[in-house]
Symmetry: C2
Subunit: 236 residues, 2 copies
Amino acid sequence: MPTPNKRAPHTNRLIEALPRKDRQRFLAGCESVDLAFNEIVCEPGDRIRHVYFPTDSFISQVSPVDGHAKLEVALVGNEGMHGVALVLGVDVAPLHGLVQGGGAALRMKAAPFRRELNQSAALQRGMHRYIYVLMSQLAQTAACTRFHLLEARLARWLLMTQDRAFCDELHITHEFLAYMLGVRRVGITKAAGSLQAHKLINYTRGIITVLDRDGLEAASCGCYRADKATYDRVMN
Amino acid sequence: MPTPNKRAPHTNRLIEALPRKDRQRFLAGCESVDLAFNEIVCEPGDRIRHVYFPTDSFISQVSPVDGHAKLEVALVGNEGMHGVALVLGVDVAPLHGLVQGGGAALRMKAAPFRRELNQSAALQRGMHRYIYVLMSQLAQTAACTRFHLLEARLARWLLMTQDRAFCDELHITHEFLAYMLGVRRVGITKAAGSLQAHKLINYTRGIITVLDRDGLEAASCGCYRADKATYDRVMN
DNA sequence: ATCCGTCTGTACGTTAACGTACAGTGCGCC
DNA sequence: GGCGCACTGTACGTTAACGTACAGACGGAT
């Protein structure tokens, strides 16, 4: 699957933010992996073997309900990491990790990651702050899911995803979107149809193109901006 | 407001779990306060001055949407703490903290708390694990709010609250419940009416009595048990 | 060029909420 | 003892979703 217009930075912001010495040591402990679209990084209850730092990939955090995966509650791209539980001293994943956008990521095994964590105050600080952001996002998403109309939620989702895909074209079907947002496929068709009618996006058979980012922001709920503001404020 | 049948332990489980030496030092740094029902402990954006460890009080964490408080996303009683952001090195509260159940709490100022955190590995470990639990709860709540019927959500809420109130009688109006669950008051009246018709609860003018805990669990969604299971698994 | 499977569109009836309005009802207070 | 207020009950019409079913449309493979 080719991804045109892609201008991924091939770096992860959490790692970039480390002081040079820590960063070099950290990177030395990482391996480069390629995550495939739809790949499942972990299931709830699984032992966490690796932490992932997406560079041009991104991973959905999906909350299970009544036994099976149901609702995306957070999205992790090159601004974040997957596997924060390890930072908190728990090696069991609480959520599904589903690769939303295929691409590269850096990863590190659990044991060396813990060691790094002990050795680098900067790393610990960065991780902590990121966890704060993630928690804020979870709370935001809970409220958003409750109160905002599907069309606005969809717009938000597209913006969040585009930010992490570094690409105007998203390879996503309505079916998949429905799954992420916890609604029927038909609901997505309707909402997406409306966004398309307003010339904010365009789509055909699994490819959604963002045409008007500003318009999309206007159509989305404030949650998109709120999340972004929190990230910027906390992570600097 | 008298609270009959109340058998509060007057301790906080996070603090109790500390090794004796750490615990004694920690307690020495705490002051005892009385939280009044409906008191606002903090607003999002506020600087966090204290962390709170409820003993027989409990505090709702309410997520703001579009500017004002809207939806309860977590509940903190004697099993937890309020102000986890400080553990993550951020001194700005992300959520509203609203006292749901009046009563006693231990609290500590931010600066000494940070000092304790540096001195006690056990404290840090406990805090970390509690944050993991809280994140799991946030994700759970997001999905729950999306998928489960109001009656089930209400049942869950009553159970969660009773666990933290140590009392069969909860001082709560429909109005307030509606606010917490993000629905209309009328919706609560209907759902609560149904629970009462099934003899699971009883209520009159701001006092809800739990009659049949098991029945209530059966009427609630699995989220109640899921939360509890996570806590038990992670906190031991 | 045709087939087939995937993706999207449309079309029902159904439902659990919504907003709003107003009527009872019990408790506390003067 | 009765007044007032807070709390609860009921009663509309409205709506944004729901479940299900099936029809069109595009694209890659044979």
